[in-house]
């Protein structure tokens, strides 16, 4: 298979996102504001003795800030192209090209993500100026990066599945809301999953959403010690494989459907 078209798709998506410069700048502004608010919130909560297990205030602020930076990349819905193209009917034109559509969507998503990843750098400095966050030793950074990359994959497939609903219903808004709420709460983006008590805690750690934010973040702040890195990342990879399988089955059914219905 030739990679060239897909590299080109990623480049075009990058350039397309870059044309909306204002949006990009407001995003950084909003992020800095959110980091500040979160710091105030957690500081107030810790003053009331709400410390989650194993996480001092400093670690908590680090967690919240890094989660915020990750969201710059993870909240890019690279596969929204699917539902847009289905609604506009332009998916028919794409099917008349000698390309694999899922790969096209994936590379377009990567292009968008890369642009947003660039935003992380200035945002990081802003965040560092505003709140002091811990920087762990290099091995932890590497484990975090690997875990983050796997989480990105899981997030991609979750979005892909959600947007693929459009093949059947055309409208995906309700499904998006549900998935969004669930993942905000259950992925560890807003509060560490270690805060969930007892049985609930065990359930949320067993859900796939934990693979997106929680695992890389808990590695970063040191709640998951180096002895458990391999197991934690292996679990993420397991989820990645499961979702990849479901997504490819759904795609097969969906593409048959377009072919039968006529786009």
């Amino acid at each position: 298979m030739r990679l060239e078209p897909y590299l080109e798709f990623a480049k075009k998506a990058f350039a397309r996102e870059a044309t909306y410069r204002m949006e990009v700048l407001t995003e950084i502004g909003a992020l800095v504001l959110r980091v500040y608010i979160l710091r105030s919130l957690w500081t107030a909560l810790y003053a009331q003795n709400a410390a989650p297990i194993n996480l001092p205030l400093h670690g908590m602020i680090t967690y919240a800030t890094v989660a915020m930076l990750m969201s710059l990349v993870l909240e890019v819905d690279g596969t929204r192209l699917i539902r847009e193209k289905i609604r506009e009917g332009t998916i028919a034109t794409d099917l008349m090209k000698p390309i694999s559509l899922p790969l096209y969507f994936f590379s377009d998503g990567i292009g968008q993500t890369l642009l947003h990843a660039l935003l992380v750098v200035p945002s990081l400095f802003c965040a560092l100026a505003l709140v002091h966050i811990d920087v762990p030793p290099p091995p932890t950074i590497v484990a975090f990066a690997v875990s983050f990359a796997v989480g990105y994959g899981v997030n991609f497939f979750v979005n892909f599945l959600m947007n693929s609903i459009a093949f059947w219903t055309l409208e995906t808004f309700a499904a998006q809301l549900i998935v969004r709420w669930a993942s905000d709460l259950l992925s560890g983006q807003i509060i560490p999953l270690t805060l969930f008590p007892g049985i609930v805690g065990r359930i949320v750690f067993g859900l796939p959403f934990a693979a997106i934010y929680s695992t890389p973040l808990l590695i970063y702040v040191g709640v998951i010690p180096s002895s458990q890195w391999a197991a934690a990342i292996a679990l993420q990879v397991g989820w990645l494989a499961v979702f990849a399988l479901i997504a490819s089955a759904v795609w097969r059914a969906a593409s048959n459907r377009i072919v039968i219905q006529g786009g």
Binding site: R2, L95, V259, G263
Partner: protein
């Protein structure tokens, strides 16, 4: 017409497509009911359509709205699976070999663009170069040629969303042909264009067909496109093929009546010609209608100049538009009987 032994580039045999859609009962209760029990409605979009195209042909694929034209084109491009029947394009079964088939074809939709909306025109071309893996020299050569013929130079670096419809169509044509497809499907390529833009698009179609030998399937409601470009038309109505043959033949069969317009040097009261019927006469101009199968135009002209002092004559051919309109309304009949009438 001499029969040539050439392998057809497009071959449809008894092509049939039935759409199955869930039946919806009206009202809120009906909507609720259709959530649980699904009844289906069947609609035959294309029925037993057979035709074959030879390489290098330029064919008009004509029919009223909802006749099944787009459905046929979708089956030819491989994005729709026929319910039954066979379809082959350049030896491939399009829906089974979608990606391979895609390399052989180019598609232009008048109503929809395949260009990247937010990016300059040239970047869409670059993307297509990557998609089809067009070799650098060939890409350069094709691009230069299209930029020149279609005069794309002024807006090559303009984002597509800022282009006028005429400019966008020219861009779309270049995009569809950059990889040098052997067959192109044009779906209403001149819709919404002004006369000048229409003409330049028609010229371009004629040119790629003549110079590159590209097979062209042209779907359009503008029969001026067909008259200007096609020798052959395939007519489809309510999913069935009703005519396949020369444009001239259908004109002969349907447009038996031609009109001879004679301008006299001085007003003539009640002009008359044998073998022709006076349909209008005002001042010094008269219009005569005659059956082309029974009367020759040159004989009528001679007759007129023998009887009157004639300043000028002109001949009006039946136009395709009025003929096709009649066929849509009355249906196509074989004309053997009509010739006797």
């Amino acid at each position: 017409m001499a029969k040539r032994r050439v392998l057809p580039i497009v071959e449809c045999t008894k092509l049939r497509k039935v759409f199955r859609t869930p039946k919806r009962s009206p009202g809120a209760l009906g909507a609720l009911r259709s959530l649980f029990s699904r009844e289906y409605e069947e609609r035959v979009a294309v029925d037993a359509v057979s035709f074959r195209l030879e390489p290098g042909e330029l064919v008009g694929y004509i029919g009223p709205n909802g006749a099944g034209k787009s459905t046929t084109i979708k089956m030819l491009t491989g994005i729709l699976v026929p319910t039954s029947g066979d379809v082959r394009v350049a030896g491939l079964v399009p829906w089974r070999q979608r990606k391979e088939n895609a390399r052989n074809i180019g598609v232009v939709f008048g109503q929809r663009s395949q260009l990247y909306w937010d990016l300059p025109l040239i970047e869409s071309f670059e993307l297509l170069r990557a998609i089809y893996g067009i070799r650098k020299e060939r890409y350069r050569q094709n691009l230069d040629e299209f930029v020149e013929i279609l005069r794309l130079n002024d807006f090559l670096r303009t984002p597509v969303r800022q282009l006028s419809l005429g400019q966008r169509m020219r861009g779309d044509f270049a995009a569809a042909l950059l990889h040098g497809p052997s067959i192109v499907y044009l779906d209403e390529p001149t819709i919404g264009l002004d006369v000048v833009a229409k003409e330049s698009i028609r010229e371009f179609i004629a040119r790629i067909n003549a110079e590159r030998g590209t097979t062209v399937v042209l779907t359009t409601h503008d029969l001026a496109d067909v008259e200007r470009l096609c020798r052959r038309i395939v007519l489809i109505d309510r999913g069935t093929l009703i005519y396949d043959g020369d444009v001239d033949r259908i004109k002969n069969e349907y447009g038996k009546f031609r009109t001879l317009i004679v301008r006299f040097s001085e007003p003539v009261a009640g002009p008359a010609l044998e073998g022709a019927e006076l349909v209008a006469s005002e001042d010094s101009t008269a219009r005569f209608r005659f059956n082309r199968n029974l009367q020759r135009a040159d004989l009528l002209v001679r007759q007129a100049s023998e009887r009157y002092r004639v300043e000028d004559v002109s001949l009006e051919e039946p136009d395709l538009e009025s003929i096709i309109r009649r066929i849509y309304v009355e249906g196509y009949r074989s004309t053997a009987s009509e010739n006797d009438a």
